[in-house]
């Protein structure tokens, strides 16, 4: 009876393992793209990837992380290509030989989000630095991603430009999480935060939050695509990954990006050639 049971269990295990292996093998060709939570959560990939898959037959598996994490994953060779937004870190990644090259793909912009009551009067800001100074001056609660993402890096640049050292201040909360959860927190406690426009546009749990400041050229948020260096990581699917990057920057890809809209609003703009 015990043998009977063991035999049955053995068959079941084999089945599960084979099914999993089969699943891994069936997708004829696929690449892993490490990207950011902001692009995933904005819904952009859901719009453009089916178009690419239809024309190329290559399926793109997106792992959504913060930009810093996505670069780490690339550094370890666990992705074939990256689509991230932290220009300084991206250039360093390529310069250190982890990536073969970087290409401009698209941009969107950051927006300062906060409670509609706007206690720090951010609405009346003259520029980005002024907006951040107003929040700090009022001591209004600000929630930082604090996850080494592209948005986090941008936010730290803005504080620096405003000559403010927010880390350690009682009103400055470091969440250590993705864009969506940070917005959930801000909505929960009526706090200010910095968001990319895409995630904000696709975010449903806004409660009292609204865009209070946007449009400054400093809030420009460019995304770059990087091919993980096949010389360093020989298993990288170079041809398929390059085909994806080429498509993103081709007319067809640019059109696909530009045609993604939420509520009639265009979220991502193809980079100028």
């Amino acid at each position: 009876m015990a043998h009977e049971l063991l035999k049955r269990i053995r068959v079941a295990v084999l089945g599960v393992v084979l099914a999993a292996a089969a699943q891994a093998a069936t997708a004829a060709e696929s690449i892993v793209l490490a990207s950011t939570t902001s692009t995933e959560q904005s819904g952009l990939f859901g719009h453009i990837l089916p178009i690419f898959e239809k024309t190329s037959g290559i399926s793109v598996k997106v792992v959504a992380l913060g930009t810093g994490q996505a670069l780490d994953v690339g550094r370890r060779g666990d992705a074939d290509a990256l689509l991230v937004h932290d220009r300084a870190a991206e250039d360093k990644f390529v310069a250190e030989g982890y990536g073969s090259y970087r290409r401009d793909v698209m941009y969107n912009d950051f927006v300062v989000v906060g409670p509609t009551a706007d206690p720090a009067a951010v609405k009346a800001s003259s520029d980005t630095s002024d907006a951040f100074r107003r929040i700090a001056g009022k001591g209004a609660t600000f929630i930082s991603r604090a996850d080494k993402s592209g948005t986090h890096a941008a936010e730290l640049r803005f504080w620096k430009a405003a000559a403010i050292e927010p880390v350690g201040q009682s009103w400055y909360k470091e969440a250590g999480t993705g864009m969506g959860p940070t917005l959930n927190m801000a909505a929960g406690v009526d706090a200010y935060t910095l968001s990319d426009r895409g995630t904000w546009a696709n975010f449903k749990n806004r409660q009292n939050l609204a865009i209070l400041y946007a449009g400054d050229s400093k809030l420009f948020n460019p995304y770059g695509a990087i091919l993980v260096n096949p010389e360093r990581h020989p298993h990288v699917k170079k041809a398929a990954a390059e085909r994806f990057i080429d498509w993103l920057t081709s007319d067809a890809g640019r059109e696909a990006i530009a045609s993604y809209r939420i509520g009639g609003e265009q979220l991502f703009f193809p980079s100028p050639r």
Binding site: A2, V13, V16, A20, A24, V32, E40, R76, D78, N205
Partner: protein
């Protein structure tokens, strides 16, 4: 706010599409696979600890009990480091596949299942030890006999493992990557929808998850009840 979220969730449930069915299916495959492997590893391991006489037995029992509370994120990171292309098992290219998720969840449920099995088998061992000793049972023969004899009680260990595997999010998120149509399971889907602020959809998926675990438990409870009546 809460009430409307809940009604939205129930409305969404009524219109469950095949995408959700896919996610549920993958959840069952991954967690089911982990529990099957966990059963094969964890239950004999627990029984061996219960029956074995060796130095440091108390220490091993405490360790196994403590590992029951191992955070899934820690397991996720460790498995990630091992399966990463730069890690020792990188050559297999398992990262971001369902198999990697099975591996991580197996590591997660083995201590839990072993700890419960140890307790169950130890109780039976105290009752049977002398008679099996007189019959000259080897140590391993005692282990298999006890495992078979405690099978109804050990179902609790299997259910606990299944519950833990189905409900954890940390490990599968890291080693699976929450890739749409490839490694997205119920818990990572819930995390994603929560990130997007789509709370009704998150709760709808949560309800599916709970109903599923409830149904599995009900079936197991019924089976156990039937078997207990049959074999006492």
């Amino acid at each position: 706010m809460f009430a409307s979220t809940l009604t939205d969730a129930i409305r969404l449930l009524a219109a469950l599409d095949h995408r959700v069915a896919e996610i549920v299916g993958l959840s069952l495959q991954v967690s089911g696979g982990a529990v099957v492997l966990g059963t094969l590893i964890g239950l004999p391991l627990g029984a061996c600890i219960a029956v074995g006489r060796f130095r440091g037995k108390a220490g091993v029992s405490v360790l196994i009990n403590a590992l029951m509370g191992l955070p899934s994120v820690v397991v996720g990171v460790v498995v990630y480091l091992f399966l990463s292309r730069s890690g020792p098992f990188g050559a297999f290219g398992l990262l971001y596949t369902p198999l990697a998720m099975v591996v991580a969840q197996t590591l997660l449920v083995v201590p839990l299942m072993a700890a419960i099995a140890r307790q169950v088998v130890e109780d039976a061992w105290q009752r049977y030890a002398e008679e099996l000793q007189v019959m000259r049972f080897t140590w391993w023969q005692s282990v298999t006999t006890l495992l078979h004899d405690c099978r109804h009680s050990l179902l609790v260990a299997v259910l606990a493992g299944l519950g833990r595997a189905m409900s954890e999010v940390g490990a599968v998120m890291i080693v699976g990557g929450n890739i749409d149509r490839a490694t997205r399971v119920m818990t990572t889907a819930i995390a994603l929808e929560t990130s997007k602020g789509d709370l009704p959809l998150a709760i709808a998926l949560g309800i599916v998850l709970i109903v599923l675990i409830l149904a599995l438990n009900a079936v197991a409870f019924g089976l156990r009840h039937w078997a207990m009546r049959r074999y006492g």
